[in-house]
């Protein structure tokens, strides 16, 4: 399959990328790892006049500690996140989630910035960044701004990024003491995309009750979203199996459920609850063993 002809630019600075984007009137597409964009170009679902490859901009990839969290450059690959010692130690949820994405070859090319800017409703990293209390930094003609992950995903493949903005980095909170995390998913056997995926970050108080729960769900609705009903049901409670199972019943509260040939709405709802329970159980187990 051949994409429609397009012009190609590979700027070496973010400023140049933004200028090219502005000149195209927002019609150009940004290319990072290309594992969402290239399939769309090949299927001709996207026919941009210009593709701006940000893969050659120095400083857009890599992981560093910043402001009590981790800053991850937009073009950092999923493999790099999976392998990063910093991520494994300070935000293991992200390396665990990265390992669930696609397959090895896809992870070698796919980037965290690409997956978040694309906003696929069945992506994995979207839920992880939500549960990790994350945010993204975007840059446009008028400078830089930060968008909390909670405000990033608007609808199916629609994010809060303006057409003239480029996502430059992702920030996630460090998982502190007595905090455990987990990403659990039921994957489409062919594509590997989540039919239901749940990311959990749980902090236990000294007395073993849940001091803070951040749970996010993907694959079930038009966008990844916080499962606030589940969070509320866990808050302040002792996280035993019964409480967790009861909380997981709220997994799709407020979600506009998707039904398709892979899973109809009621099956997705069922899966979401099961996956939520498993995700929370594992996160709680990890929190309990972490001083």
């Amino acid at each position: 399959m051949f994409p429609v002809e397009f012009e190609y630019e590979a700027p070496t600075t973010v400023e140049e990328a933004i200028r090219l984007l502005a000149e195209s009137g927002g019609e150009a597409k940004i290319l990072a790892g290309g594992h969402s964009l290239l399939p769309m170009l090949k299927l001709r679902l996207a026919q941009p006049p210009l593709v701006i490859d940000i893969g050659r901009i120095a400083g857009l990839s890599g992981v560093s500690e910043q402001d009590g969290g981790l800053r991850i450059g937009a073009t950092t690959t999923e493999t790099a996140i999976q392998d990063s010692e910093l991520v494994q130690r300070l935000c293991p949820l992200l390396s665990e989630t990265a390992a669930h994405i696609g397959d090895q070859q896809v992870r070698n090319r796919g980037t965290i910035g690409g997956t978040l800017a694309h906003g696929d409703p069945a992506a994995d990293m979207t839920a992880a960044v939500l549960a990790a209390g994350g945010s993204v930094t975007v840059q446009g003609p008028n400078g830089e701004r930060t968008i909390p992950a909670d405000d990033l995903f608007l609808d199916m493949m629609t994010t809060a990024l303006e057409p003239d903005e480029v996502l430059t980095s992702v920030w996630v909170q460090t998982e502190g003491p007595r905090t455990g995390s987990a990403y659990e998913k039921f994957a489409n056997a062919a594509s590997g995309y989540a039919i239901a995926g749940v990311a959990s970050v749980i902090t236990l108080a000294a007395d073993g009750t849940v001091a803070r729960a951040r749970i996010a769900i993907t694959g079930v609705g038009s966008k990844a979203t916080r499962a606030s009903g589940v969070e509320a049901a866990l808050q302040g409670k002792r996280a035993d199996d019964q409480t967790i199972a009861a909380a997981a019943e709220h997994a799709v509260e407020g979600v506009d459920l998707i039904g398709d040939l892979h899973a109809d709405e009621s099956y997705r709802e069922h899966l979401a609850k099961v996956i939520a329970r498993r995700s929370i159980q594992r996160a709680v187990g990890r929190a309990a063993t972490k001083s």
């Binding site: 399959m1 051949f2 994409p3 429609v4 002809e5 397009f6 012009e7 190609y8 590979a10 290319l31 290309g34 594992h35 290239l38 399939p39 170009l41 090949k42 593709v51 490859d53 893969g55 493999t79 696609g102 397959d103 090895q104 070859q105 896809v106 070698n108 090319r109 062919a190 594509s191 590997g192």
Partner: protein, 164 residues
């Protein structure tokens, strides 16, 4: 508008004028004539087109040739050295890791990526690492055995599998 790209493929330098929409797999097959890299699903799923790019396995149907500009590609044609099969190729031979052979070039390149990351993988780890490569003949059993054979061989004779 076309662009000039310069890259190394299997240790040899190339410079070509290409259209931005040209996929890396078509560049390798149609421009360079390296037809060992196969095209099957063309949708980033089957892994038949897997090559190494800058030391990591990639699906060359999901990468533009212009993205490879300045980089280093290794295809199945670059595995054997001086007419001697790479231990992975030898392993697929010894353990009957193929029947029709169509998926084999991609299987070999993904296995190479695996053994670089993990020189002594368990059968489970091999299956997990090859989840992005589909085989419709073997049922995978002999492919796993072939990769294990190669891992043993490369442990016994480390020089045999040294990547460039």
């Amino acid at each position: 508008m076309t662009r000039i790209i310069t890259l190394r493929v299997n240790g040899k330098s190339y410079e070509n004028e290409v259209s931005p929409r040209l996929l890396l797999v078509h560049y390798l097959r149609d421009v360079l004539g390296l037809t060992g890299t196969h095209i099957a699903c063309d949708t980033s799923q089957c892994g038949a087109c897997t090559v190494m790019f800058n030391g990591e396995s990639v699906k060359s149907c999901t990468m533009l040739a212009v993205q490879a500009d300045g980089g280093e590609v290794k295809t199945v044609e670059g595995l054997a050295t001086n007419g001697k099969l790479h231990p992975l190729q030898q392993g697929f031979w010894e353990k009957h890791g193929l029947q029709c052979g169509f998926c084999t070039p991609g299987m070999l390149m993904s296995s190479l990526n695996l053994l670089q990351r993990n020189p002594d993988p368990t059968p489970d780890e091999i299956r997990h690492a090859l989840e992005g490569n589909l085989c419709r003949c073997t049922g995978y059993q002999n492919i796993v055995a072939a990769v294990q054979w190669a891992a043993q061989e490369m442990k016994a004779k480390p020089a045999a599998g040294v990547a460039e």
